[in-house]
């Protein structure tokens, strides 16, 4: 019987190894100190090394375990959701909460091709206004509502 390795475990092991090595490499200039006076580098090194070892163990065991593949990545929803968040993050400072919520919703709704444009438009507008009211007016979170330089309405500033 041909043996197919467990790619989930191998992938996870590789990820842990990579993170552990990154910690070891990026923290290489941090002082280790000694047991009586541990430096800032002691923990990163210890945890990083442990993570590399554990990752290797997981990957090796995965190579011997029964097959189970990694299900396909759903790139479209992933990119739409993360892209929407990134767009929100970069637009909120210059453009304000209303515009960036609109942008987030429109991009986020690209996750599935079958979602209609009219619904997206209504939803985005409603969400922008509702979150603006909730966070800025009701909860008084100091978020800029309107683009930089636009005069804010005095009663919400």
């Amino acid at each position: 019987m041909a043996h197919i390795p467990n790619w989930r475990d191998i992938g996870a092991g590789a990820l842990f190894c990579a993170c552990g090595s990154a910690a070891l490499w990026l923290g290489r200039h941090l002082a280790v100190g000694d047991l009586a006076a541990m430096g800032p580098g002691f923990f990163p090194r210890a945890i990083g090394a442990l993570l590399v070892a554990l990752g290797a163990a997981i990957a090796v065991r995965g190579g011997r375990k029964d097959a189970s593949g990694i299900s396909r990545f759903a790139w479209r929803p992933l990119l739409a959701v993360l892209g929407g968040l990134v767009l929100f993050a970069v637009t909120i400072r210059p453009a304000g909460l209303l515009a960036s919520t609109l942008a987030l919703t429109v991009v986020g709704r690209l996750a599935r091709p079958e979602y209609g444009w009219r619904e997206t438009a209504v939803l985005a507008t409603t969400l922008a206004l509702a979150t603006g009211l909730l966070f800025r007016v009701a909860l008084r979170v100091p978020v800029p509502l309107l683009p930089n330089g636009w005069t804010s309405v005095p009663w919400i500033s």
Partner: protein, 515 residues
């Protein structure tokens, strides 16, 4: 009777109309921010702190405390319905609570959480009243070594509660600890993994980690299936049947779990550094351990909701004990409470109970009233929460996304938190694909820095002699408990694996159902 006198004094303070109204405001607000993903009690309390200047200190504390334990309550609602734990103490509730919702038992889960929390709140309040006056002596014995051992116990509990392989859970805990190291090292002031990004110097915000790993990753996963409209996911027809009473079989499972959860929470909450988070993990572990059918956990076991929900509510209340008796903050909210006290010119510390009994006992009595409010606020409104489920997912997810984004932004009023949320969302999705449970990562993230700080302090005090952890009785006992936990879980993890080969089920029996 001293106790009755003290509680009488407390009730006299807490039942004045002003205090009752502020207690109601606090608990209602707490429930709301607990349900709203992204805006947690820490942010809310921080925002409201300036508004309490004009209030009497007792009134201010009563309201702020109400926000805190109200949010524990509301957090369970968002966890169960949306798989969005706004607070780390609600992370465990997701495991079984959200599964129950998916199976159309959202009403049962919410009811179990509500009743468990109320019961725990009442018991914990009584417990504070009896225990607090004698606690200062015990808690003073907790040095850095004991704290470090306590953190180790918390991390061990996180590993054992995770789904699937224990090795993976252990690695996830370590990964979380690495993320927890990002920022300025508390002891030396050195910057670690900051890459000259000023936003990283203060460390990664917990909100970004939790929202990304649980909220965002879950949204993407829900959107990947062929039935994108999650009426299959959420809008199950039975959801609308909201019971005022739990079905008998569920109730019989839930009440002992709630009782045990209360005991665990009340005890762990008292320990400075323990608190609601640790108690939910410990309670879940215990329930899974003693259950006759541990395989039901992670698939909608009501004990997995009732136990941890009771535990976190009990712990949220008893965590006021170290604050009020010693002036020690056991978590971020308690640190803000210290800020609130000092704003009003009260020096937190062991003298508060004696010098300001109105404050101490008034606050405690108000917690009982607040718990009553929470039941009144939540039970008749369970229908509203459950009706949230019938929302089309294609309309619901952009709403959650927007709330997450704004919530993340409002934490530090900076876009960096939003970007970090996106990063952890992507990581969370990858980890889901690799069948790695994100819960231990979050625990490692929170407990890691505390472990490091206390370990370093303890080692410095002992001049590098590591045997100190085994010669001090409390720390030795805590470490022994961690080892026992890990070996016990290792044994149970191996057993189903062997039988699973026979039934050709997936080896990691409790993995999330592949969609």
């Amino acid at each position: 009777m001293d106790l009755l006198n003290n509680l009488g004094l407390g009730l006299a303070v807490a039942l004045t109309p002003v205090n009752v109204i502020y207690c109601l405001i606090g608990t209602a607000l707490g429930t709301a921010v607990g349900v709203l993903p992204g805006l947690g009690p820490v942010a809310t309390i921080a925002l409201l702190l300036p508004l309490t200047y004009g209030l009497d200190p007792v009134t201010a504390l009563i309201m702020l405390a109400g926000i805190y334990y109200g949010a524990q309550y509301g957090g369970s609602t968002a966890s169960i319905l949306l798989s969005l734990p706004g607070e780390i103490s609600a992370v465990v509730t997701v495991l079984d609570g959200h599964q129950m919702a998916r199976q159309g038992r959202a009403g049962d889960a919410l009811l179990a959480a509500a009743l468990g929390s109320f019961f725990a709140g009442c018991v914990a309040t009584l417990m504070i009243a009896t225990v607090a006056p004698m606690l200062p002596g015990i808690a003073l014995k907790f040095g850095p070594a004991e704290y470090a051992a306590l953190m180790a116990l918390g991390l061990a509990a996180a590993v054992t509660l995770a789904h699937g392989s224990m090795l993976k859970a252990l690695a996830m805990t370590l990964l979380g600890m690495l993320f927890g190291m990002v920022g300025t090292d508390v002891s030396s002031g050195a910057e670690r993994f900051v890459f000259d990004v000023p936003e990283l110097a203060d460390g990664i915000d917990f909100v970004a980690v939790a929202m990304g790993l649980f909220g965002i990753a879950e949204i993407v996963r829900n959107l990947e299936g062929p039935t994108s409209d999650a009426t299959a996911e959420f809008g199950c027809s039975t959801c609308h049947r909201v019971h005022w009473r739990l079905p008998r079989a569920e109730f019989r499972r839930a009440w002992p779990a709630s009782l045990r959860g209360t005991a665990i929470g009340a005890f762990l909450g008292m320990l400075p550094g323990g608190g609601p988070v640790l108690s939910t993990f410990a309670s879940y572990m215990l329930e899974k351990r003693i259950s006759a059918e541990p395989q039901r956990f992670g698939r909608g076991a009501i004990e997995g909701v009732a136990g941890p929900e009771s535990a976190n509510n009990a712990a949220a209340q008893t965590s006021f004990i170290p604050l009020l008796t010693l002036g020690l903050p056991s978590n971020a909210v308690m640190a803000l409470m210290i800020g609130a006290l000092t704003l009003h010119g009260i020096q937190p510390g062991p003298q508060v109970m004696g010098s300001d009994p109105r404050l101490f006992w008034g606050l405690i009595a108000s917690m009982w009233i607040g718990n009553l409010f929470l039941v009144i606020l939540n039970l008749p409104m369970i229908g509203i929460w459950v009706r949230l489920l019938s929302l089309r997912y294609r309309l619901l997810y952009p709403t959650v996304l927007a709330l997450c984004a704004i919530g993340a932004f409002s934490v530090g009023n900076s876009s960096a938190t939003v970007l970090m949320t996106a990063f952890f969302g992507g990581l969370g999705y990858l980890l889901l694909k690799l069948h790695c449970d994100p819960a231990p990562l979050v625990v490692g993230f929170v407990l890691g820095p505390m472990l490091e700080e206390n370990l370093r302090r303890a080692m410095t005090l002992a001049r590098g002699d590591a045997t100190l952890f085994f010669t001090r009785p409390i720390s030795a006992a805590l470490l022994l408990a961690s080892v026992l936990l890990l070996t016990a879980a290792g044994n149970t993890a191996r057993r189903p694996l062997r039988s699973a080969k026979v039934t050709t089920a997936t080896p990691a029996g409790a993995d999330k159902p592949a969609r």
